[in-house]
Symmetry: C2
Subunit: 145 residues, 2 copies
């Protein structure tokens, strides 16, 4: 599983001594594929904090958390670019940055988009349920008719 099998602390079996983890661990924890995680780096969405001497990606806890936030955002159907923007936005709001009003404005737009998307998802769900029911009806009709 791990890259090599060095003697690791049995009390903290999955934690490198610097709190940095390789991509495989990240994939396991987040449920994202290696390809996806690398792709997110390509696009600049989540760049690992460090690299090993040999070039291995090393992710901090914050990196992993960021990936988990992204995972939660996915059902909202935002593009990767939009997600990046939102993450930056939230970060900037976290820091007591300059133009608060503008940031809050942008945040509000994101929120509205999110609400709209939730509505759309609900509609989709209703349609999907309806179709599933249709299939169920067809089944009972044809099962012993």
């Amino acid at each position: 599983m791990r890259a090599g099998k060095g003697p690791i602390d049995p009390e903290a079996p999955e934690l490198s001594r610097d709190g940095l983890v390789q991509i495989g661990q990240v994939a396991e924890r987040t449920g994202l594929s290696l390809r996806t995680i690398r792709f997110y780096e390509e696009t600049g969405l989540v760049v690992p904090t460090a690299r090993s001497d040999g070039g291995f990606r090393l992710y901090s806890d914050q990196d992993v958390e960021r990936l988990e936030v992204i995972k939660r955002m996915k059902p909202l159907g935002f593009s990767l670019e939009e997600m990046q923007e939102l993450l930056t936005l939230l970060h900037d709001l976290g820091q007591g940055g300059g133009d608060r009003a503008a940031l809050v404005d942008r945040l509000q737009m994101f929120h509205e988009a999110a609400v709209a998307r939730v509505t759309a998802l609900r509609d989709q769900l209703a349609v999907a349920e309806g179709f599933a029911d249709t299939l169920a009806a067809q089944l009972t009709t044809h099962r012993t008719a």
Copy 2:
């Protein structure tokens, strides 16, 4: 809008005399783009019943209905190929075809897939709602803090 403006029956303003409509009408009725409708023909998913002498696609009511069924299937996330299979399957069941048992079996698999997808959609909706709420909370936190 229409190709030419012949005197049409005001009682059935959008119905060609043979119950066949051109692609533009179909797009308008189904909300699908011309591009998409032509694409569905390319893949064999919905082939128009007829063509005019000049080569215009002419869609029957069944054709349009088929497109509308496809639209309802879309939230279930089936591929176009799977949709085609399911449509064929339902058609074959409609006709008193040969191997009923096998057809019903396949139908049951589709139904199970649909149900699974509905569950997945519900989960996505929950996650999306959660994230929207998070955004709302961030808004109230930062709005006048």
